[in-house]
Symmetry: C2
Subunit: 331 residues, 2 copies
Amino acid sequence: MTTAEAYFREKRALITGGLGFIGSNLARRLVELGADVVLVDSLVPEYGGNLFNIDGIESRLRVNISDVRDEYSMRTLIQGQDLLFNLAGQTSHLDSMQDPNTDLEINARAQLSILETCRKHNPGVKVVFASTRQIYGKPQYLPVDEKHLLIPVDVNGINKMAGEAYHVLYNNVYGIRACALRLTNTYGPRTRVKDARQTFLGIWTRLILEGKPFEVWDGSQLRDFTYVDDAVEAFLLAAASEEADGRVFNLGGADPPISLKDLADLLVSANGGGRYEQRTFPSDRKRIDVGDYYADDRAIRSALSWQPRVTLREGLARMLGYYRQHLPRYL
Amino acid sequence: MTTAEAYFREKRALITGGLGFIGSNLARRLVELGADVVLVDSLVPEYGGNLFNIDGIESRLRVNISDVRDEYSMRTLIQGQDLLFNLAGQTSHLDSMQDPNTDLEINARAQLSILETCRKHNPGVKVVFASTRQIYGKPQYLPVDEKHLLIPVDVNGINKMAGEAYHVLYNNVYGIRACALRLTNTYGPRTRVKDARQTFLGIWTRLILEGKPFEVWDGSQLRDFTYVDDAVEAFLLAAASEEADGRVFNLGGADPPISLKDLADLLVSANGGGRYEQRTFPSDRKRIDVGDYYADDRAIRSALSWQPRVTLREGLARMLGYYRQHLPRYL
């Protein structure tokens, strides 16, 4: 066990969105490291929370079903925590355009309310916020570093931008230690695969395992991908390091950027078969698409010694293996 | 009358925050140009709205007392308008820290709701949004141009950043023509002078006219100042120009940047007497102060041929003249 890992033993950690994709993988790791873990999740059906995500570790942590918009339950839950992994969010770009107010409530207002609660009731807590590359909008240069302007192309991006900014502000003004990770496409076991709401890799995985063709929209877009275990490692490093306080970090992947078409081929190859259809972008998605994106993640590699280790080929294989076994629990 | 001015004849224009400082000056100008003007204002006591601000033009426009947070009244008011000057806002940095949720409701949520209303009920409207230099936070270089990163140092700055971003988004995604002006310190007749809530120049003006010393905090900070008539001109140019759609523009002033100490001396000189005391920053203000700020406003000068004309010396004299006559109406 490294020093960073020892840091988590007996630490009290609250994970918002803890039954979701990244939250539950993080919970598993924290439990393994001996932390005292509480998960908050609203289990909104369209979001990523799934009780099966903590299958096998239910007895080693506590689950509290509630919503980050519920100020009073959050007040009780935040008190006494050493660490707050703040991952709850509305993550669908398209939903944020159709119901912008709900997105604002979750991604902006609830975040402000959580930070106010920290300030009033637990100023010593350390907060790591799950931000997103979506806040950059359409890249003006590549790879995108943290100095890139934020010009979000959807309501979700704007509200996440505000949510992230509150965290940095509360760090700088009130000394609530907080930092943010700007996640790129994160993939792996326990992601939502039911539909394309959170990530296209989810629905691709579902369809290929069901023996159906999946759809690749355009296909030429370059993207980068973080395997969930590598993302979890970044959350741990950020939580354990004072170096991170007040900062925002891009996450990238272990592989160079890849086009969606090449990714589709890689998925078919990792699955030992399957097929997809290339088609043009649906218009409601096209207008909020950002085109090519890949991160310059040298800041976190240098400041926190983060190093993504799982290659796409390996990660996709693990993801397929997981859903080959558990797909019905995610439908 | 120039072409731009002729543009406003018989145009139906709604001004949110229309009884406030800039809103009421804009209303006067629009009425003069023959526009059909409706003002919305909530007259929240701590904000800048004041019925006296439309003294003498009451019969030439309509006033509707309501709040931009009130979705239903806004829905009715926005329908049928050609122009929406969107100036309503919570503008106190300090209040935004003490009551962050109210700031979010007004500066972020109500803006999103207004834009949704435009999208659903009046997609042909042209919107000009009053943004603020506050969203830049502490400048990383000077003068600050529109490419400068946004790292707000208070909750108000974050919510205004989101409010501005919604406008650009709705322009880009839905074709609701919208643009934003990032105002710096704006001054002149009809600003709130009761206290230091909105602008220090307000309380300085009040105190000097009452024969009392005013306070200069620190004094070395460099700032730029826009006389309100010049700001109004920028709103008109932005409204009349397609060039502005989807863009954000800094406003600067007619003079070079000036230190607050020199500004205080200029005010005393313009007043023909008066005194001030220099003191250190109060701690609650210091932590959200941005230090030196002045804008690079070449973008709006070039794109819209905007040219601030009123010098500080002249503007301060006009402001003092106004309040010498009307101070009791603002206390």
